[in-house]
């Protein structure tokens, strides 16, 4: 019962967040500063999602050869930077992960 309550609450909260600005009447304009700020949202949020996955091992900062996810991530970043391809970046990252895991 409480689980269904949680699902219902999550549904309302999540849809509300997504719909918030999209459903505002068109004549309501965003302030210029907010528009400028929003330019940085995608890069900031997406990076905030993957950075801990590379730099933390079991919740602890790890910058070492033993951290194969960091090494594989660096390979993926280089591929993404140079070629800007989604599929190639993911494949390269997975191959690199297995390679570094085998090597170290």
């Amino acid at each position: 019962m409480s689980l269904w309550l949680a699902i219902l609450g999550m549904t309302v909260a999540t849809f509300g967040q997504r719909a918030s600005f999209l459903l505002l009447p068109p004549h309501i304009q965003l302030p210029a500063l907010l528009r400028r700020a929003l330019r940085y949202v995608p890069a900031a949020v997406l990076t905030a999602i993957w950075a801990p996955e590379l730099l933390l091992q079991k919740g602890v900062l790890s910058i070492a050869l033993g951290n194969e996810r960091l090494l594989a991530g660096i390979v993926a970043i280089a591929i993404a930077w140079r070629f800007r391809v989604t599929f190639g970046t993911i494949i390269a990252g997975l191959v690199a992960l297995h390679f570094f895991d085998w090597m170290f």
């Binding site: 999550m10 600005f21 999209l22 890069a43 900031a44 949020v45 391809v85 993911i90």
Partner: protein, 232 residues
């Protein structure tokens, strides 16, 4: 009409490379939800109604720990703060669309379609066919997610962890975020947000990500003054 079809197909095509990231992540999320003790019916209902991966994973952890419903909802809200920002960011592109179209876009607004959409239309908010492209992108991603999550729920924890397919998710975020770094303030925003997310990792209720977003935005805005880049 012709353009609408072309853009819809372009969206479909753009979604395909993401299957390799979303598929494994859907599987892993399904497995995690099953392991967290959420029954298949409730898990599937949550996946279809809420349709937000990170929030569902966070909720699973909290439900497994017997948290009250209100705490679970609050955690999902915090994890999903970025959706609020996505909504604001994507709004100008759909301002002219009908209400039901904007409701549809709202429902389908998750990380991957958002990032790919911005990649394509970011510099061209006036370009036609945006809704068709977005829906073409969103439909295959929705099905891929629901089907793989369902399979994950069924196979439980029998997936070979040796495949390391869970790493495909962060790799997808790398693939989507790196091409956005077109000027110095953008790089500064991303680096500072990433560093904040790492340092604030231990904060309760996954609030580290929201904090990282705020820091990234502020650093980006301040860097504009230093490098005097014109904003788009």
């Amino acid at each position: 009409m012709q353009l609408a079809r072309t853009e819809f197909k372009a969206g479909l095509r753009a979604s395909l490379p993401l299957f390799i990231a979303i598929g494994p992540f859907g599987l892993v999320t399904g497995v995690a939800m099953a392991a967290g003790g959420i029954p298949p019916l409730e898990a599937m209902a949550m996946s279809i109604l809420v349709y937000a991966d990170a929030a569902m994973l966070a909720a699973t952890q909290m439900i497994a720990a017997d948290s009250p419903a209100l705490v679970v909802v609050a955690a999902a809200f915090i994890v999903n703060l970025r959706l609020f920002m996505y909504s604001a960011s994507i709004r100008p592109y759909f301002a002219g669309e009908s209400l039901w179209r904007r409701v549809l876009v709202s429902y389908a607004l998750v990380d991957n379609p958002y990032a790919l959409f911005i990649q394509r239309f970011g510099a061209h908010p006036e370009a036609p066919g945006k809704f068709e492209f977005f829906i073409g992108l969103a439909i295959p991603i929705w099905f891929c997610w629901q089907v793989t999550l369902g399979i994950g729920l069924l196979v439980g924890n029998q997936l070979p962890a040796a495949w390391k397919l869970d790493f495909a998710a962060p790799l997808a975020f790398i693939a989507m975020s790196i091409p956005l770094l077109r000027d110095k303030p953008m790089v500064a925003a991303a680096v500072s947000a990433g560093a904040t997310a790492v340092l604030a990792h231990g904060l309760p209720l996954r609030s580290g990500m929201a904090l990282a977003a705020v820091v990234g935005i502020l650093v980006g805005l301040l860097s504009e003054r230093i490098w005097s880049v014109k904003s788009a």
